[in-house]
Symmetry: C2
């Protein structure tokens, strides 16, 4: 190891020391709303189509309780088709009175999420059934331990703002045990907000004591809900699903924020024209809001228009495509059009492994969707093979790219300080002909410029000296180190003991 | 090889057949102007700063001919400081009358570039001194053959719209021979527009016969200039350089479009505040326009605000950063503010090799900058280690990512056809509950959706069957195939022979 390298690294480490939160170049909840793939008139036109879909096509397959809630609130059941129709005036009423300011609380309040207005956050999500083995370039079944590992890694990564369940614990067969352990492993692994999902209403009910006890009381949980529900209440196109609807009802009644997910696939379960696909997504989500409001007025929710894309040649999902970036950005912008708390997906890749393709696909999707006005960008970390595989190393690299994309969300400040021509005069006419040593430059080094953790900026010679590591190899080292050394259990010891006595918790006890 | 794979691949190949130009999902010169990192008032404020820089700080180091041209046209030479100052009214006059519609002609007119209005194009550029050896993960000196190889590869890649010199032919020591051979290898390798650069005015003069003879006559070249000059007439901050200025004069007089390059590095040769850095870039470029207009009114040009970024901890360039995406996008947007033909850089990476980091950095830079309103996005393909290394495999992968980014530039069409709710009715209420087989879906398969060449959308099982290739390995196969089989020489045989008799051309003769 050369001397030069040691000195340089020490200097980099020193300058790289933890910054006070308020001068960080990238902070939580930056305002992102500068990429507009739709014009105002175009959004108004999509909105008219949304209303037409809801009032003339409507949803089908509604379970009885859904029919009861919604018809009592203003929807109409078409006696002939059995479809639930939503008159325009009803939707307008719902939009006028719904809760626009949900809190996704974190057990560590520093990570509280306020997913509304122009605030922009990133989060994981997914139901990957595989973990990517980068060493053998292969896929293996994901387990509960993997889920916990991904939670504690996300806990350490600055630009991943909250944690939604990433993987299916395929080593647990029983649906109740899976739901419960998914929740528990997530809560154990991260102090950030947790989003999870449940297969039945009964499983939600049985999980509530854990949430209330962790909060201190039911009221405390309702005041600061640190767990939200990701709920596929609708299966596109426009079909309601009984189990998910009943889960939604339990959440709405218990103050648990609900992500109203509509995950259509353009060309398969959603229309191939991008604009119509967005309209179907938004129609389904607005129906979801009506439903939430009917069950519990003012219940906190986010809409989740998650418009996916299929490769029309093969039917394979292609979450890394340019079309995906447009669909997610369009939905993010529609969220701002309605001023609704909005989550959209970005950062999936069709590549199986964190290679160059994964980087490109994630990169261009992040950049546009984070700037689209969506409040929460999910599926943002670790997702490969569209949504089939999860990579720990991928998540670590995603963190750096998310940081850079968030830097673009912060944007360019144009003000007196940042257009101070005296700096230019001092460095040119009166100065050395460069800006390197000017006080303003030095002051901005940490405030205006973001430095990546794993991305490598060394010159080629030094890189060769270091044996030419590629990104995924550096990420692998980080993963190994963190999984070896970061063993949080954010469930207090006494409660953990009590829960383990009452619930079939399978997560190995933390040391 | 399994049977299943053969069938699938055949189907994919069939559906992937070459499309008529007019129904392609991504076409040349798409209108891109949907990402606005600056507001109108912010741009007006930057413009005021630009005028102030030009009128009160000005440029220094001007050679006598530059002083003569510019003072005759309206600039003032400050007797005390020797700086050239540009009064506001002079700049406004220049902006009112300059040529806003340059043509970057291609010898194959299908590839003509109209870099103005909202048209968006991509191109290579750079002066890399190394080629990336992906096999050994090392860098080696670039040669004339490498330059020709990169030109003929770019010739084959659909989403690289023109070719600017990518590498320095380090196997040629003499500056005249290097200039001449750089031009010649580029012209031999691609039918697309060629941009090159020269070290002295004399070298430009000596190259002109080649251009005129290839065109058929001087007038024919002036009518369809298929070669433009990339010219660093200014070394930021605000220093004019004699040799480059004289090159510019020759180009202006001979109808060769000039890319007026200002390549400041924020924090080093440009101010650290992003807004002020953009103002300095634009000031330098507007001075360049004044210069062009003074030498030859109506001479064709593009402004080239190429604002780079240094890592303030180390002084290393970091062209893959989020700050880079902001600076390039901001300059692209300022180009639209002035309605000037504008080139900006995007797609450099700090990674040494086409790995995940390279993908991310290129991906998020492409996405924003291509949507910023800049007309030409350069340094867009193959550039690694910021600008030190060129990778053939990287360029091939860049092509796929540029395609996806261009798909986002095309955007979401909102019109009656694309919001036709009847499609939705036919597939839901009256139909099978999905859109897969609908005529509209099938018709859009090739028209609305772009399919990548190298990016892999296989499912994990099939990928493992194929021995789990990563992106760069697939790109390598493509490079090997093309370099073995695509040996264009776009210089007609008789002319080639004649040129070789008169000029020290070192490029090996095509078979």
């Amino acid at each position: 190891m050369s001397r030069r390298r040691g000195g340089r690294e020490a200097r980099i480490d020193a300058r790289n020391a933890e910054l006070p939160e308020d001068i960080k170049p990238v902070r939580l909840g930056l305002a992102g709303n500068r990429y507009h793939c739709l014009t105002e008139p175009e959004m108004a036109r999509i909105h008219q189509t949304v209303l037409e879909i809801l009032s003339t096509v409507g949803l089908h397959g509604a379970p009885q309780s859904t029919i009861d809630y919604l018809t009592a609130a203003g929807a109409e059941l078409c006696p002939k088709s059995g479809r639930l129709l939503f008159p325009k005036s009803y939707i307008e009423d719902v939009l006028a009175k719904c809760n626009r300011t949900p809190l996704l609380a974190a057990r560590d309040p520093a990570w509280d999420i306020h997913p509304y207005g122009e605030n922009t956050y990133t989060a994981t999500a997914g139901a990957a059934v595989n973990v990517v083995d980068i060493e053998n370039r292969s896929y293996r079944d994901s387990t509960l331990q993997d889920l916990y590992d991904s939670a504690r890694l996300a806990d350490e990564l600055e630009h991943i703002h909250y944690f939604q369940r990433t993987m299916v614990a395929r080593d647990i067969a029983d649906p109740y045990e899976m739901d419960l352990n998914t929740l528990y492993a997530s809560l154990a692994g991260t102090r950030k907000h947790v989003a999870s999902s449940w297969t039945t209403a009964e499983n939600v009910q049985k999980s509530l004591p854990i949430l209330f006890e962790l909060a201190g009381s039911e009221a405390a949980f309702r005041a600061r809900p640190f767990v939200s529900m990701s709920c596929c209440f609708v299966v596109p196109p426009l079909l309601l699903t009984e189990d998910a609807c009943q889960c939604l009802e339990v959440a709405a009644k218990n103050g648990m924020p609900v992500l109203l997910l509509s995950a259509g696939q353009a060309g398969a379960t959603a229309p191939a024209p991008l604009a119509l696909s967005i309209a179907q997504e938004m129609a389904e989500c607005l129906a979801g809001i009506a439903y939430m409001e009917a069950v519990q007025p003012g219940a906190p929710f986010l809409i989740g228009p998650w418009p996916f894309v299929v490769d029309l040649r093969t039917g394979m999902m292609c979450g890394g495509s340019g079309e995906q970036a447009l669909l997610s950005s369009g939905c993010g912008q529609m969220g701002r059009y309605y001023d609704l708390p909005t989550s959209v997906p970005a950062g999936m890749t069709d590549s199986k492994i964190p290679d160059a393709q994964a980087g490109y696909e994630k990169g261009y999707n992040y950049a546009l969707v984070l700037n689209s006005g969506a409040n929460c960008i999910q599926e943002a970390a670790g997702m490969h093979a569209s949504l089939l595989g999860f990579s720990m190393e991928g998540m670590v690299l995603d963190n750096d790219a998310l940081g850079a994309a968030l830097r673009t969300v912060r944007g360019i400040e144009v003000n007196e300080d940042n257009l101070n021509i005296n700096i230019l005069r001092e460095c040119t006419v009166d100065g050395p002909g460069h800006y390197l040593a000017h006080n303003d430059t030095i002051a901005r080094m940490q405030r205006d410029y973001l430095y990546p953790e794993q991305f490598d900026r060394f010159d080629p010679k030094l890189w060769e000296e270091l044996k030419s590591p590629i990104a995924v190899e550096r990420a692998k080292k980080y993963v190994q180190d963190r999984l070896q050394n970061h063993h949080p259990n954010y469930i207090p010891k006494d409660l953990d003991k009590s829960f383990r006595a009452r619930f079939p918790i399978q997560l190995k006890q933390a040391e």
